[in-house]
Amino acid sequence: MATTSDSPTVQEPLPIFKLAQRYLVYDADTVTYLRREHNICGVLIGGLPQAPQQNVFSGLPLELLPEEARLLVEKRVAYVVDDVAKHRRAFLEDGMSAEERRAYQAALRKQGLAAAGEKNRKSEQRKKATLEKLGTENWNDLPEDMLKPRSDRRKRQGGSSEGSTIQPNDTPDDETLFDSPGAAALCKASTPHNARSAEPQPFFVTPTTSYPPLQSAAPPSESTHVDAPDAPQSYPIFRYLHDQGYFLAPGLRFGCQYMAYPGDPLRFHSHFLVNGMDWDQEFDLLDLVTGGRLGTGVKKGFLLGGQEEGGEGRDKGAAKSGDETSRGVRSFCIEWGGM
């Protein structure tokens, strides 16, 4: 699989949606793009509709740490949008014109039609495959009522493709599983079998994002960093490690502030357990021992770091990047030496 063939690209600066002091991204393309181009992973906090009863894989939306949101805003890759106000204005206070509403509905209808068509095609294919496997020729010997649903299939194979006749078994939605066979038959009987209508009934679509119909505009580029999201005091070390090319993820369950990965966490194990500190912050020596032992126990380095006050950027990497926030950040790695 080629690296570039189907990697989506997104126009920068891209919007980050803020609600209840959180920063979210809803667009799958943006998520992939941020991961690929900016080493930003965030945390997927939603569920996957195609596998709804599991916690191993998560889905959209993606929640960005305040650190990540701030970093993206500082790098002018992204800007923050107040999502609640936008939605309220558009959908609850008649902020959308009738035309926009019509366009929105038309777009959804089109997507629904496409989904229905796609579904039809797939089930047709599956039926065809099954029929080929069974061998259709001997069916005439079977009793009439046993044949009923099958013969229906054959009829449709010969030209029609109708959305409403999909068998309950073909649908992954669990609601339909619980329709009794009787209800399904009833429903089929009541829908007119129009063999000539090539147009399937459109599915209803729940879009993932609201943009469009909503519009978001990037603030003028000369605006300063005033609106950069607040980040915790460990931000300098976060920014510093990110500048060094690490992928960072929240690390509470591993006993630290961040986990630092040498590459995409999809493929790599993490190398460091990271804790950020103030330069003059006093801490217990025991924390050092605990952290060192914890890190060594899981074959990772325990990394402490902070920003030197009035630091001159002693560290080469930070000096090269020439950025204020990661200048003067120094990091220390503690390992438990088995003497």
Binding site: V43, V56, L266, R267, H269
Partner: protein, 416 residues
Amino acid sequence: MADAEEDAMPRGGASGEEPDLTDETQDFRFLTTISREDASIPKRGEKDFEPHATALQSNTLAASRHAMHAALAFQRTHQPRGHTLATYHPETNMAYAYNPKGPLFVRMGTVLPAIEDPFGDDERRGQRVWLLPEEVLFLMNRGTVDVRWPGQEGLAMSLQGAYAMFLGDEGERGGGLTFERYAVYSNLKRSGYVVHRAPTWEGEGKVPGDECYAAIPSMTPPTWHVGLFNYYTSWWELFKADDKVKEEESSQGPLVASKPYRSYAEIYRRLAIIPTYDPTARFGPDDSQLATDPAFRITYHVWKPSNTAYKKSAPGPPDFRIAVVNARESAVPTSAQLSALMETAPYKPPPEQSQLYQKLKHGYKSVILAIVDQGVVSYLRLADAAFGREKLYERRGQPGGRRGGRGGRGGRGRGR
């Protein structure tokens, strides 16, 4: 399919040894194996140590990312038949649906009584099922309901719109649903549990009732009395020992007076002069009853999927009580916060016959903390262990004591 999946899903950490797959980012290429019927979950250790710029590695990474993108770009569609329509109600930040079908609604949503229903007692009230913000959001996330904005045209609400309203707007109007709470709710629901808001969802709730304390012993000794003192050989010995200790309780004399003793236990009993906490001796809230801290309150009542006694109208006592904690805004709870939280949990002594370590682990009361760090949930079980009641010198049969047990803390309980 949902039910089959619920059963097939491993409840992580059952043995404590198997790796927890939710701990780390998994390769999305394995998602297809999960969504199929024969759900097999990828093993760990498929990752590399570091990038080494080979084509193989970068191709694998590209494939993983592609699989992830494909999984994320999934579109939520609803077939015209059997499709559940719900309408957003901005005044209450809830949504309502008429006669929603499907197995999920057996455990979610409520038909409100006439005085509480925002639309009053019209003829469709009995069919109108109200869904709480977390319920709508969860159902929408899994692609079960189609939520519409209020109004003539019934514009479809996007997932983004749902988050903006049910979490963002909720936060702005000071509602109870936070990101942390929703993260725990959806995490538990995806594992198949039945989750409802606890009475302490907003505010302190009632003063802990009788069920939170040990039963007051009545004069006619009920059966549990025997169990309580089964470490003593007989009533007679108990009496004798107690009498003697009392007799000698003087501030002057030595703790262990010089006289013949028949067992070490008698001597140890005399040495135990430091008062210890005894959860069985508390029969009601004392005067210095602590107020629960809003950051540490029981948020959800949780029932196991296998709990057959559960009914939506009369759920019965929950299997677990979970307090949601925001890792970024609150520190480790203080003793006062913890005791106040523990106070609200029901009194549930360990079975008397069980092993010492199991008793300590089980505790007399327990509560589960769900600690959320930016959408990543960790569950911790806290138990009110009574070390003072488990006297090692009174144990019989195993003079050396058994090794290898674990401490009183539940560790990663994983909702267990």
